[in-house]
């Protein structure tokens, strides 16, 4: 499972992406817990519900189940255009 970070999320995780290959989170809520525990500075943003999640480049807003081959992305509100 590949997890990608963008914009100021990257400033918190200090990496663009990481791979979790064993005991990967089973769904989005699981993933949030794992991230909150690895990156305590992320927790306050996670709680404010402003972060966006994408699985295989599609937005997810429900607690979607995750597979080992998934590419997950976590990012702040977009600001293009």
């Amino acid at each position: 499972m590949k997890i990608k970070y963008f914009a100021w999320i990257k400033d918190i995780t200090n990496k663009d992406y990481e791979e979790i290959n064993k005991n990967h989170p089973k769904n989005i809520e699981d993933l949030k817990k794992v991230l909150n525990s690895h990156y305590p500075d992320l927790k306050k943003h996670m709680n404010k519900n402003i972060l966006r999640f994408a699985v295989n480049m599609e937005y997810v807003s429900t607690n979607k189940n995750l597979n080992s081959s998934d590419e997950i992305a976590i990012f702040p509100p977009v600001s293009g255009g």
Binding site: K4, M57, P77
Partner: protein, 138 residues
């Protein structure tokens, strides 16, 4: 067509490339976004645009197809730049090609509104002192 690129573009050339293919185009609406010198009351020196490229391409293609279907557009072009940009540089181009102007106008606005909310680009502004990630206002 959807293009995500570092380099600048020439509006006339991009429009002509598509216009030349269709003699039934009567109306072209364009939107071009530029780097402004001031934002949030701060003097902008440099704008860095980050992109989640594969997803951005997917999202832009989806919105392009929706707009083409909804307004029966003859064609539609979206270009979004990323990387380091300076004040006065172009950031984005949306071009809607239709027979009549109502469709080109409405689709153009629709695409920009969607793009600003959903397509994974992020702006980081550098000022004389420090820098910050931009939040879009609607």
């Amino acid at each position: 067509m959807v293009k995500i690129q570092k380099k600048d573009f020439d509006i006339e050339k991009e429009v002509q490339l598509i216009k030349n293919q269709y003699s039934n185009i009567g109306a072209v609406s364009l939107f071009i976004g530029y780097v402004r010198d001031f934002n949030n009351n701060m003097d902008v020196n440099l704008l860095e645009i980050e992109v989640y490229e594969n997803m951005a391409k997917k999202e832009l293609s989806k919105i392009r197809e929706n707009a083409v279907r909804k307004w029966n557009l003859i064609d539609c072009l979206i270009i979004h730049r990323y990387g380091k940009l300076k004040v006065n540089d172009k950031i984005v181009l949306v071009a809607s090609f239709s027979e009549h102007r109502k469709d080109s106008f409405n689709s153009n606005k629709y695409i920009m509104d969607y793009l600003k909310k959903n397509v994974p680009f992020w702006k980081k502004e550098t000022y004389s002192k420090g820098s910050s990630w931009v939040e879009n206002n609607f």
